[in-house]
Symmetry: C2
Subunit: 155 residues, 2 copies
Amino acid sequence: MNDALKITNQFMEIALKEARFARDRDEVPVGAVIVDKNNNILASNGNRIIELSDPTAHAEILCIREASKKIKNERLTDCTIFSSLEPCIMCATAISYSRIKKLFFGAYDYKTGAVESGIKYFETSSCNHKPEFYGGFKEKESELILKSYFKMKRV
Amino acid sequence: MNDALKITNQFMEIALKEARFARDRDEVPVGAVIVDKNNNILASNGNRIIELSDPTAHAEILCIREASKKIKNERLTDCTIFSSLEPCIMCATAISYSRIKKLFFGAYDYKTGAVESGIKYFETSSCNHKPEFYGGFKEKESELILKSYFKMKRV
């Protein structure tokens, strides 16, 4: 395994850890982490929609807000976001607005994902900034966390 | 003018006032307000992207977050949002997630709007909750605020 892939897997593990924390809070288990160009972590978080009474509190949005605040700049140029799940339309748009350079995600979300699924936001004419994006990292682990959560909720 | 239109215009005036406040903070002048079913104002705000170093700090998102927090519920069922500008994709998605019942907006945004323009988010299969929506209220006033702001920025 090359160094770049090792580093990607390390950050995906952190996103998965945040997804598990979200599950333990009884939130849909999605986690994310944002790092700067030197791979310093600026923010990591999981869904907190119920906890914060905030329908926008998806993992990616919380990370973007925290990272931007930390560097006192609404543009996260040269930063990378890792998400355990393919971002939805709201989060994909926020990633574009934040000027994040690269996006890595775990499981594909064929229903509400908007990167390689659904409207494929970054390919639309509405999108002014398109990050590089790569899906399927730690895909099985991410799917397992999600599936076991929804199975538990149905019982 | 019937009462319903009078009330709509009153809240659109508040959204426009928030847009002007945003302009005075040197933000893109968009304002919004959310009211509950009894027309009590739960939140009103304008863009604060630069001020808060937050690329998600659009007027509508800030209002949704504030209103949800106020009623301690991530669902704003039976609430109405008034925005001076046609919501973008991020905000349209957040409006859907919040279960807001009705959306009134002022100017159309043919470039980045996502309600009657662009991807028309509420018409897509990704959208699980579609609010009633009505555009073109106080349209000219909203356009004027936006146009004068962008003209000033170009000088």
